[in-house]
Structure formats: C-alpha cells, structure tokens
Symmetry: C2
Subunit: 212 residues, 2 copies
DNA sequence: ATTTCTAAAAATTTCAACTTTTTGTTTGGC
DNA sequence: GCCAAACAAAAAGTTGAAATTTTTAGAAAT
C-alpha cells in the first residue's frame, strides 16, 4: 500500500510549481512523511533530488525549503530563461529538420486549441493543467532541435523554476492575458518555421518581457 | 573520529574532476563507505548532492556513476560553457564596477604568475592544483559582475563538468600549451577591462575552441 | 549455438531507532 | 529592563539492518 517514491517526487514537484507549497515554506521530512506513508528518510531523498532541479533549497544541517521568490529572483529567472530559450531556438532553427518543424507545429496546434477554448469560455481553472502541460511542451519542443543535452536540461530546470516563481504573481489570468499570449505563441511559431533567427529571438523576448 | 560529511563531498568532488574516479565508473555506496568510515547511506546522500552539480549521474534503482565522457559530451559541454561564459562576461562588462575590474585584475595576476612559473620550470605536476584553483577563480571572477545568481551557479556547474570531461583528454600539457593559454587569458583580461564585448566574446571562444 | 527461464547473488532502497545540531525559551545576572 | 547563559524541545543527520529490486549465472529448451 506504500506510495511509490517516484509518485512522491511527482506530487511534491507539482505542489511546488503550483505554489500549493508556497515559496519559502520549510519542508520538513517528518511532516511530509505522514502524507505519503513512508519514512522521513525517503522524503529526504526526494527533496535532495528536487533540489537538483532548483525547486527546493537545501542547506546542510538546516534542511529544506521551497525556493524563495523575490522580485530580484523573478527577474533573474526570466532573464536567464530568455537567454537559454533564445539560444536553444536559434540552434534548433539552424540544426532542426522537417521532423522538428512537424513536432513544433503539432505542439503549437495543441496549445493554441486549448488557449482558444480558455479565451472563449473564460474558464481558466478548468483548463489550467492541460494548458500548463501544453505550454511547457511547446517551449521545450521549440528548443528540442538544438542538439545540446546540457542546454535542454538546463532549460527544463529553468522553466520549472520560472513557473514556481511566477505562479503566485500571475493574478493577471483574465481572458485578455490569453488573447495576448495566443498572439505571442503564434509569433514564435511563425518566426521559428521561417527560420528567422532574429524575429524568433525578438518574439521570445516579447513573450517573456512582462516578467522583467 | 568520523569524517565530516562535507569532507566526503569535497573529497569525492576532487576525485571526480581529476579523473581519479574515471568517467563512467560505477559509484557504489557500499564500496565507498569503507574509505570514509561512514554508512553507505551517508555516501548515498553525498552522491545525490554531487548529481546536482552534474558530476555524478543517478538513475533510480540503478545507482550512481561518474558522469560518462564521450566526444559528443565534450563538445556539448564546451559549447555550453562558451555560451554561458560569453554571456556572463558581457553582462559583467555592462554592469561591473571598479571593484569588479580590481578583482578580475587580481585574479589574472595570480593566474598569470603561476602559468609563467609552469612555463619556465616546465614542472606541470608541481603547480597543477594551484593552477586549477587560479584558473577557475579567474573565469568565475570574469562573470562575477553579471548580477545573475542563476547564471553564476550554472557556470560553476558547467565549469566543473568541463574539467571532468577534459581532464582525461588533456595530454597536451606541454609548455607549448601554457604559452598559448597565457596569451589567451591575457586577451580575455584586456578585452574585459576595455569593455569591448565583441573582442571578449571572441577571446573566450578562442580560448576554448580547441575542445570543440 | 542461441535464446529463455529460473535461482542465487549483488546492489539499491527503505525503514525506524539513535545521535548530533539547531532553535526557542526560561532563568539568572548585570 | 536587557543581555547572556543554560536548558528543553524540535529538527536534521546518521546508522545498520531489513526489504525490494536488479543483475548475474547456470540450466533447460528451442
């Protein structure tokens, strides 16, 4: 009846990027242990692994806490995400083949479908999880042709941290917001498929600059 | 009489970046436990923390191994290091004050002193540890004015991985080698102090391109 | 000879008790 | 009344062993 360790990892990860565990919260293995019906040591293991992604801060003899969120950190993670995503996209445009174009096109189609639904129904909550996955998938697909495992892994971490930092901020989730990002995602896709590196860099910047 | 956990971390880290633990080696907590007079679980903790830096690979239910080294990975880590270092240096040149210039100048002075010694005496081994520290310090100081904790942390990890990947390769440690890098480090310093972003980007590239 | 299956061995992960360190509170001195 | 030392409570880290999983190796079957 024990929860699989990997499920604990995934569950904690989700709680961290959705701010169910708010930034700065102390994460005590002993408290969390109860939730999952495992020993505190197992939780400790999971938290160490989450600290690799940057969602959790670890300090020797002082335990763990959900990574803090400050205006400076939010600007930092945004700047860094822009850098990595621009570079990854540029490399993808250089190296990517038709297959990359196809995958990107598909990812965008799916994302854009969900975003249109949200805009029409104005029911953000209902589609939030779906949208989250699709957004991440689109951005990761964008850089997926870069042929650099290190860059991709770094991006994946930065994206997670970005979510974590911003989620508590984004109270601007009206349908206006989605009208904007529909256009922004489209601009990124168009530039990418055109292999217009400068336009793509610009549209990535435009997409994220509200967080600077 | 127990070894402090942090010492275990530092010791393993050193063995990893110096290839005393060769890339790809399986790292079994049970084997290493003996070396340090602690339980295997403590070693496990340390290895999880080292996997955050990217020196150790971890796979669930399959344990740990020193990160592998292949030509592709060496190229990847080099490309990525160039990217991060160029960007960090550019930002430092933009944001850095006199203090940054002073620290950079000092770091270079120290490094250049050691490199001159090595070139004269041709006794690489004797100065290797000193040189390693000075080289890392110079490059980290170069980007230290970038005002982005994330970029600095990423660089620190990438630098460590770079070392790990290259150490087994660099059999080109003759005095020719040091003659070259003395010039290269000087070029980086000069460009940085001149705040000539393009020249600095170029000299960073020139410094690392041999590994591409 | 190659593949598949099974049993033993080895390695990894989990656990709950124990030790150390940190944190917070109370008490006593100034 | 304020600071500091001592104490108590809580949290973090460590341990050795048990439980689980993966790997290895040998036997049986195709």
């Amino acid at each position: 009846m024990r929860t699989d360790t990997n499920e604990i990892y995934v569950d904690l990860q989700r709680k961290l990027v959705t701010a169910q565990l708010e930034p700065g919260t102390k994460l005590k293995p002993n408290d969390l242990q109860g939730e999952y019906g495992c020993s505190s040591n197992t939780v400790r293991d999971v938290l160490l692994r989450l600290s690799k992604v940057g969602l959790v801060e670890f300090e020797m003899q002082r335990g763990f806490r959900a990574k803090a969120s400050t205006p400076e950190m939010r600007r930092d993670v945004t700047k860094f995400r822009i850098l990595i995503e621009q570079e990854g996209a540029a490399l993808s445009m250089k190296n990517g083949g038709v297959q990359w174009e196809a995958k990107l096109s598909a990812a965008h189609h799916q994302l854009s479908h969900i975003e249109t639904q949200i805009e029409r129904t104005n029911d953000v909550l209902r589609y939030m999880d779906l949208w989250s996955d699709a957004e991440e998938n689109f951005h990761e697909t964008l850089i997926s042709g870069c042929e650099s495992p290190l860059l991709r892994e770094t991006y994946s971490n930065v994206y997670a941290q970005f979510r974590q930092q911003m989620i508590s901020q984004e109270r601007n989730f009206g349908s206006n917001y989605f009208r904007s990002i529909i256009i922004e995602h489209q601009a990124i896709l168009d530039a990418a498929l055109d292999r217009d590196v400068e336009a793509c860099r610009q549209s990535i910047y435009d997409h994220l600059k509200r967080n600077l």
